[in-house]
Symmetry: C2
Subunit: 214 residues, 2 copies
């Protein structure tokens, strides 16, 4: 599967490019800066330029699926949260609709279901993520929304814990590597289409954990 990764140089993005290649897929690593091309190639991806605030149209060409894992990050202002996490996501979604790319995985966030219930410092971020998630659901795309809890840079374990419905928001932190592996598994599991999956560290093998309850 040709999978375009938006935000391929981020913490989850780098892991994802590598794991897609390892699983026999053809990842397209979309980044903002040519200086990042070599890193993408080393991880088995085809690098492409795409600027979520500028030229972006050709970045998704030939993709069968798109994963959005770009984010303004904590070092920039909330204006960039609006421009990247929200508007950049919407531009990506719109491009998929226009280009007939049906399969979409959104990296969202725990607590996006209820931003006002979260600590005040992260509420604006959750508003942006939730709004992007809802916009995605308003399209006809075959979308899986993944909402991981707090992320770590620990090594992946291949095991997670998930919650499909409102069963509380608590759970162990999760390595970015396991989030990335979960995305690969979601892309390979049609049953996750239409699902919103809250994601924690855990002890269930990923491929088994992501199968929705009947």
């Amino acid at each position: 599967m040709n999978v375009a990764v938006i935000g391929a140089n981020g913490g989850i993005g780098r892991e994802l490019v590598q794991r897609l290649a390892d699983a026999g897929h053809d990842p397209i690593g979309v980044v903002r800066d040519e200086a990042q091309f070599e890193t993408i190639r080393e991880r088995g991806g085809e690098p492409r330029l795409g600027d979520l605030e500028g030229e972006f149209a050709t970045a998704l060409e030939g993709a069968d699926a798109v994963v959005f894992t770009a984010g303004a990050g904590g070092d920039t202002g909330w204006d960039k949260t609006l421009m990247i996490d929200l508007w950049g996501a919407r531009r990506t979604i719109d491009a998929c609709v226009e280009q007939g790319i049906d399969r979409f995985v959104m990296i969202s966030s725990i607590q996006a279901s209820n931003p006002l219930a979260a600590p005040e410092a992260i509420r604006p971020y959750l508003v942006a993520k939730r709004s992007a998630d809802d916009y995605l659901r308003s399209t006809g795309l075959e979308a899986t929304i993944v909402r991981p809890t707090a992320l770590t840079d620990d090594e992946g374990t291949g095991q997670i814990s998930v919650a499909f419905e409102h069963r509380g928001e608590d759970g162990d932190d999760i390595p970015r590597a396991d989030v990335a592996q979960t995305v690969v598994a979601c892309l390979e599991t049609a049953a996750t289409t239409g699902e919103t999956i809250r994601l924690f560290g855990g002890e269930t093998p990923i491929e088994q954990a992501i199968i929705p309850d009947e």
Copy 2:
């Protein structure tokens, strides 16, 4: 008509409460601070407390229609744009859906149709406004979206210029008083339901200008 005005102490909100009362309606002025109650009363409105980031549920009780004209304004950070202009609008829309209040007028902004085409400094604001507008349209509410150009504090003229479709974004600045009067006219004109109206200063009487083209 009982019309709840969210942001009743703002520039457009104050004009709107007065003009709704003058037209024989019963405005409910929703504000964040009891210190603003007397101003609302002086303008013929019933003051109510409503905090878009806190207690809000009862603010709309008994309303037949809601006008959203709250905004974080230019003196706060973009975090407040996310919390008020976007999430506050969504909370208001959700409350209308829950409470069966069908009629909604959103005060949006010119250029919300294409944020990336606007000057960089206002793009994040337009992303928030556009996302709120789209969320409103995703509901079943009978909504009119009003997108005024640059606002002035000049006296109202009773005359405007409008554009229903993509006929360019240029036009004269418009007094807040004329935006408020346009909202009153929209509430009284069922044909504006479902329309998104770009609004400029002009020379056509308001009641005539807002009738959509066939």
